[in-house]
């Protein structure tokens, strides 16, 4: 079996791959932002024991963590068009979904990895020593101020290792965008496969690209961890 990568020299294919790579990275970055928003907001709902919201968050976290992100994506994609959130394209007269595949992927990444982030941040908050919290309370910090200035900064730092895994998982999961026809790097790859039939070679290249992106994310997370490390605090 010989591998043939000569198709990589074709500028058109290079362009498809680069464009797809851009989409994949953008999707992942937006997903990460949404993941953090959901993670912090959800953890806060549980932390402050907000009535109704605490229960709802707990249930949704269990739901999203224990079901496949792919099914969540399909569900989101079809439900949002089913409940009529569609626009009518003035040129063709066809109705197109208001939420594009891209939006659905970002939403589903944010929800799935966000649900995991809720748990991660929550256990980070639980790991903040109660004496430190008490120190803040004795200085007159309100619960919200204590959360913002003391618990969250320390808790988030403690959750960096688990959060790094979660971010890598999010980047990997983003590859399923191709299944709702988002033009990400996997989509570019399938297009090239259709034209060149070098299926294995294309997949190996995509595999390498994902491993590189994920590894870069890990390196970035290590840099962040080092930058915000608390000197003299066993972390």
């Amino acid at each position: 079996m010989t591998l043939d990568f000569s198709w990589l020299a074709d500028p058109l294919y290079q362009q498809w791959l680069l464009r797809g790579l851009g989409t994949t990275i953008l999707m992942s970055l937006l997903g990460i932002v949404l993941m953090f928003i959901i993670g912090i907001a959800g953890a806060a709902c549980i932390h402050f024991r907000l009535p109704v919201l605490e229960t709802l968050t707990t249930i949704l976290v269990e739901l999203f963590r224990n079901t496949p992100p792919l099914v969540q994506l399909f569900f989101l994609y079809f439900m949002l068009s089913e409940i009529g959130l569609t626009l009518t394209d003035s040129a063709t007269g066809r109705s197109i979904p208001l939420f594009s595949g891209f939006t659905c992927v970002v939403l589903s990444l944010g929800l799935y990895n966000g649900a995991i982030a809720v748990e991660i941040i929550r256990s980070g908050l639980l790991a903040v020593p109660s004496q430190t919290v008490e120190g803040a309370r004795s200085l007159g910090y309100s619960r919200l101020q204590t959360f913002r200035h003391v618990e969250l900064p320390i808790g988030l730092r403690m959750s960096i290792p688990a959060m790094t895994n979660n971010v890598v998982s999010l980047i990997k999961t983003s590859s399923q965008a191709v299944l709702v026809a988002v033009a990400d790097i996997m989509y570019g790859a399938t297009q090239i496969m259709l034209e060149t039939f070098r299926n294995l070679e294309v997949m190996i290249l995509i595999w390498i690209i994902y491993v590189v992106i994920a590894s870069l994310a890990v390196v970035a997370a290590r840099r962040i961890a080092a930058a915000v490390r608390i000197p003299g605090y066993g972390m």
Binding site: T55, T58, I59, L60, E62, L63, R65, N66, T67, P68, P69, L70, V71, Q72, F74, F75, F78, M79, E82, I83, V168, I171, K172, T173, S174, S175, Q176, V178, L179, M186, N199, L200, M203, I204, I206, W207, Y210, V211, A214, S215, V218
Partner: protein
Amino acid sequence: MNSELKAFTFGVVGVTLVLSAILVTVYGAETGRVVQALAVRTPLLLSGSPDFSRFEGGFAANIIISLWAMLIAGITGVALGIGLIAQSAAVRTPSVLVMNILRNSPWLVVLYAMLYLLPFEVDLFGTTFFLSPLVKSVIGLALPVTANIAEVFRGGVEAIPSGQWESARSLGYRRLQILRHVVVPQAIPFMTPNLMTTYAMLFIGTSLVVVTGAADVLSVARTVIASDGAHYATAIYLYVLFLFFIFCFPIAILTRWLERRVRVRQ
């Protein structure tokens, strides 16, 4: 078990209510008819056959694939895990490299790659093995899970105090013997919850085998949608979500219970 039992009841009831609420919101007055349609399609989604006569497709296929993949990944994972803790750098360095690559690979890409890498059939010991999509799915999932299991193995072994190694060595045990007779038996309680989490993750990952053409629950769901109409898509995917949840959630709860027990015993 008390607090976990409470969380379990709470989760099952809560998730069922949430999913039902979505169903009613989406379908309104039609809900009754949609539920009926789901009931008719239940045997197909669960077993791949219209009357539960066989269990080789649908959700049953996901379970079968996950069990085989776990079995294979268990063996390869422990082998890679032993490589990770090897003393010789010639073994350890490549093991770490392989683990990092596998850990950072999207499962979907690995599945696609296996689809194209693995031949249609292989000759082994004079017998021809037919590599069905199901077999390719099993291999494609077992590969990345190998990294997870290796990591769990290493974590469990490292949780055992070094004094155990020293005392066993002073009794004349060799490295692999120490692992087998002294360290691993003690590490199993630490590894079990993490192995269960890995299995739940693997099971969730079986949703991806839809791309290999195996007759898994998502493939069946897509066939059903194609024949019954896109109108039912939301309901069917809700149903599939529920199936996965009802399978994975008890595992998650059991894992939490085991973790708590391990912590308490320490």
